[in-house]
């Protein structure tokens, strides 16, 4: 019962944050709402017994990414006049909802018909750091290495792209 309450509270934050992010006119408000949603998402992971994911989400998504975004927003120093006016925001959002609704509906239909209505029983160690680590290095070594390559490429790419802009 308490889990349900937690779930609905978190869900409220999550959806509220997401909606706030796409509707806020000021960038900084969007970013703040987004951070709220991300934190709520970490909570969702905890609810799902994914303790390691919960940590990773907090550390990487919230800690690193959001901070980075904030940093960029501030460092580029975007003042009000650079922010797009978006005079028809309401209309555009409505359009977006109209387009997105069938897609969402389709996905939901698919999920509803293909997944069990209950959780499977799990051992206590499920989702812990040790367990995830064992799985990761037992059968996911190659993807893991590939992801590290991707990160490296992204790192270099990010530097190159931002330097290039500087020169011109």
């Amino acid at each position: 019962m308490s889990e349900s309450i937690i779930f609905y509270v978190l869900a409220l934050f999550l959806i509220g944050g997401a909606s706030g992010m796409i509707t806020a006119r000021r960038t900084i408000f969007s970013a703040a709402s987004f951070m709220l949603a991300m934190i709520a998402l970490a909570g969702m992971f905890a609810l799902l017994n994914q303790s390691f994911l919960f940590l990773a989400q907090l550390l990487v998504a919230v800690g690193a990414i959001i901070t980075l975004s904030m940093l960029v927003i501030v460092s580029v120093n975007i003042s009000e006049r650079y922010i797009p006016k978006e005079p028809h925001l309401g209309r555009d959002l409505l359009l977006g909802v109209v387009i997105a609704a069938p897609i969402v509906a389709l996905i939901i239909t698919a999920l509803r018909t293909h997944f069990a209505a209950s959780f499977a029983p799990i051992p206590d160690t499920f989702g812990t750091l040790a367990s995830i680590g064992a799985t990761l290095f037992a059968s996911w070594v190659l993807p893991f290495e590939l992801i590290s390559l991707l990160l490296l490429a992204a790192l270099i790419g990010a530097v190159v792209i931002s330097r290039k802009g500087e020169r011109s």
């Binding site: 779930f7 994911l53 650079y82």
Partner: protein, 103 residues
Amino acid sequence: MSPLHFLLLGTLLFGIGLVGVIARRNLFVVYMSIELMLSAVNLLLATFSRIRGDEGGAVLSLLLIAVIAAEAAIFLAMIIALFRAKRSIDAHDFTQLSQEHNA
């Protein structure tokens, strides 16, 4: 509180991200909407993992977080570059794919 709730929530988040990508012109918001869509997928993956009791989904989700991080780095760098080039973060200002620019 069945798995379906989590699935519904994830899909909804995905939809909200989609709306953001479609409707917003602010590059930052577009970027965050994409992040949101990825995170929504992340949530779904975690849920599937929990439903099946299979940690593979959790691992995939973990890798996805890394991808999100990489994507964030690139996207932010691009925003900086674009902003430097045009002094704008309005997506409507970047239309170099159109024919008038090629001609």
